[in-house]
Symmetry: C2
Subunit: 567 residues, 2 copies
Amino acid sequence: MKQSMTFIPTLREVPADAEVKSHQLMLRAGFTRQNTSGVYSYLPLAHKVLKKIEQIVREEMNNAGASELLMPALQQAELWQESGRWYSYGPELMRLKDRHNREFALGATHEEMITSLVRDEIKSYKRLPLSLYQIQTKFRDEKRPRFGVLRGREFIMKDAYSFHATHESLDEVYVKMFTAYQNIFSRCGLDFRAVIADSGAMGGTDTHEFMVLSDIGEDTIAYSDTSQYAANIEMAPVNATYEKSTEEQKELVKIETPDQKTIEEISTFLNVSKESCIKSVLFNVDDKFVLVLVRGDHEVNDIKVKNLFGASVVDLATAEETIKALNCVPGFIGPINVSEDVEVVADHAISSVVNGVCGANQAQYHFQGVNIERDAKITRFADLRFIQEGDKSPDGEGTIRFAKGIEVGHVFKLGTRYSESMNATFLDENGRTQPMIMGCYGIGVSRTLAAIIEQHHDENGIVWPGSVAPFQIHVIPVNIKNDSQKDLAEKLYTQFTQNGYEVLFDDRAERVGVKFADSDLIGLPVRVTVGKRADEGIVEVKIRKTGESFEVSVDELHEKMKQILGN
Amino acid sequence: MKQSMTFIPTLREVPADAEVKSHQLMLRAGFTRQNTSGVYSYLPLAHKVLKKIEQIVREEMNNAGASELLMPALQQAELWQESGRWYSYGPELMRLKDRHNREFALGATHEEMITSLVRDEIKSYKRLPLSLYQIQTKFRDEKRPRFGVLRGREFIMKDAYSFHATHESLDEVYVKMFTAYQNIFSRCGLDFRAVIADSGAMGGTDTHEFMVLSDIGEDTIAYSDTSQYAANIEMAPVNATYEKSTEEQKELVKIETPDQKTIEEISTFLNVSKESCIKSVLFNVDDKFVLVLVRGDHEVNDIKVKNLFGASVVDLATAEETIKALNCVPGFIGPINVSEDVEVVADHAISSVVNGVCGANQAQYHFQGVNIERDAKITRFADLRFIQEGDKSPDGEGTIRFAKGIEVGHVFKLGTRYSESMNATFLDENGRTQPMIMGCYGIGVSRTLAAIIEQHHDENGIVWPGSVAPFQIHVIPVNIKNDSQKDLAEKLYTQFTQNGYEVLFDDRAERVGVKFADSDLIGLPVRVTVGKRADEGIVEVKIRKTGESFEVSVDELHEKMKQILGN
């Protein structure tokens, strides 16, 4: 493509409102422009990358046995009312009315649509399993759009859905999808982890998120430093053994601790370790009060609390609720002498605390010499804390480290959440009506584009992996007004194109410094500069990734390109 | 693709609510399903065809020097307010509010968006011309969605926009786009005409519509039976000469014509030819009354009336307005003795009427013996009627015929309609600020899919042209439970695929009659049936288009495929 004829509006300055590298570079290298908050145009270079990512996704999805289709963005409210999500989804779901005042959602996701489509056509186990996917624009009115296309309100997603007669069949397809996702993100040149994730409100079972490792990630991944184990920090079980001190048990003593509310404060005030403090956190679990105890150096993981009770809703108790339940203001609450109405559960680590400290359920007082099994009534000991760096990996191999990740994909066993509410049933081998068992599998295509840039750039611009580069070769004549440079550059542009490479030809009448700076920003794998030695048939080749450059004669150039670009 | 693994829900019956063939066949052959009025899902087969059409469009647009990008569907109201279309577009433009109560349009078209994008980046004539396009989902809340995806509310469109410093540059790109469109529709296997169209309210100049000839088309095309001339019937000038009778002029006589209101009635009542009747039609032209006269066998073309007066709005006068203007009820109005407030204009043909008949501006009365130049005050004679079949072609070559057409494309010189209202300017060679000159170029991609089916089907189903067929070869084992048939069919499926063909393999355990019926419905170019002679290595090849079938040995099969499919 001739650069003079296309639209690559590069910028010299870093845009003030772009916080992260990918956003800055997509603006500076002329890949995107924002139209309004969280809504972007993909200019020609970004469009080419999107198409490459889409093609990789398509190949791997087809390979996993899924068929591509295209569902509409306009979704009648009735569908979402059937599943109940019309009411539960909240303001993220964009809604509108047509000229007849009928209500529609703009597709934020397509579980309802695909379930309706499949239930109308598939009636027998003989037609299952079935995997369908689309690559389509989605709309989600994010509360806080940010980081450019990483968290936008209109974005491109690949969403796949599978339908099954048996859980075994779902398991098989889940594995295929998992493998396809590994292939996709590897082919995109990404350093990622498949992490065990929370099935959340979706009511499913197995679920993995595919996380691209990046400091700007909004999620924390707990991973093993030696094995493949990785989980969303919320999901990682703690598999620790705690050594109980052999110290003799002391007497329980109530002491005055004026204004000493946090673990930090109380451990300093009493000159004891955080490990010997007992942190008491009161929750409202499906309208019952539960006091959760963790060691002072640990944090309560509310997902684990939720799972322990199989609860729908787990909220921190408010100050009023705390007073009502424990007759004490927050900051001084504890597990000793609580009413029967409050259940007390403790993290395993608590059992190792000897002569600990905890709130006395009386303002300005704590207990010392706490030995929990002697002094309090604990209904259950369980794994209730967040995993921490340095903990043993849950799979027994290695030590846990933390990393930040950008979620680019998600595979999820939905089960019968939608088929039951929407009556998507089939007749099984015995002629019995059963709800279809479903899986869903998403990839943020436009987010993947940004995630690639987060991992592939240097101080001068983007450094594209070959598989997703908008073009492979950048041909730049130093001086387009010099006939031999211009002619040779044009000839190479034509030849490279004929040889099957994708080539960007900078035919603009710009100073060479501008062209090189733009070229570094855009970040194609190979630059071929046609300069003073054009008459001799000598050009310069520069590898964007390594910065390595060398002169090559035109005769050897095509062989050289084969070596570098591998085709 | 294995048929058992994909989603092709064929129907035996013609769906009751599908009026046209393409709609019926897209439902019956499992290509689409309606989600709600005018909103469709494209199932895997349709999706494959869409991708092929898109690829043809892409290649030809790139070839015409345009660059692909992707703009958002969510468009902030402010943009449309700048152009004024927020107010003028009407209910076809779907609107919604985000969580902050900000208003958005769902992109029905992207003139505003692209103009805003380009004006922010391009400031100099040196960066022009620029052609950009996208293939994207559009939303238009049609008053009357119908004919399946031919007139939907959510559809896929290719929209291109060009920006120029000079009209000559626009003319050049217009020709390139025109040629690209001819290539695109030819490659899609369509019988079409590029017709001169009305520039309408868009304020542009040159405009052509690309019409696929079809009886279900909503537009009438007037075309020459010998030349390339074709125009929307509204746009075709009449280039006729009328012979004036040599009959002697008679006296003007008022006669009673009780209840004789139409030309049909009055010509029968008086036993005169329609040609000798003068049809008088009263219009409200920008709030002035204009009486338009055409011959009784002709029809007034209100676009020509509008153009004659350079008017914004031309409406038929209401009964009340008629009484006000002419002091007479409709049915008996005429050009004689009208007040100064009503301008009378006449089609050229009127000047040839000798001793004609017209309304007397008095209920139940007409004049006979009308000789218009003697009896009425005509301010202008002009071309004011619709062209008719049998008229001379406006280009002087051949005779006009009519055909119905489905509009699949539109090329349009926008001029400065948007650049002026939205302040998209550039500095010209002399440093003067000028509005950019624009062109726009649309193709209904999903509509093209349906138009192809309208032209390519028979009583058994669709008959795909090779260029856009979802697959090229349909491999069908007569009995999948017979091992030699199954094995040979699978082997051929694999080999064809390896040879670069796209193959649909009917591996379902269905009766062969069902498979053949489905195969005819789906309409792939070549069917290879593996039946009883599988053991001998003999299969049957059937050409969908001609119905021709013959047996071929497997050894010769690949050579045969090359001959048939040409690759």
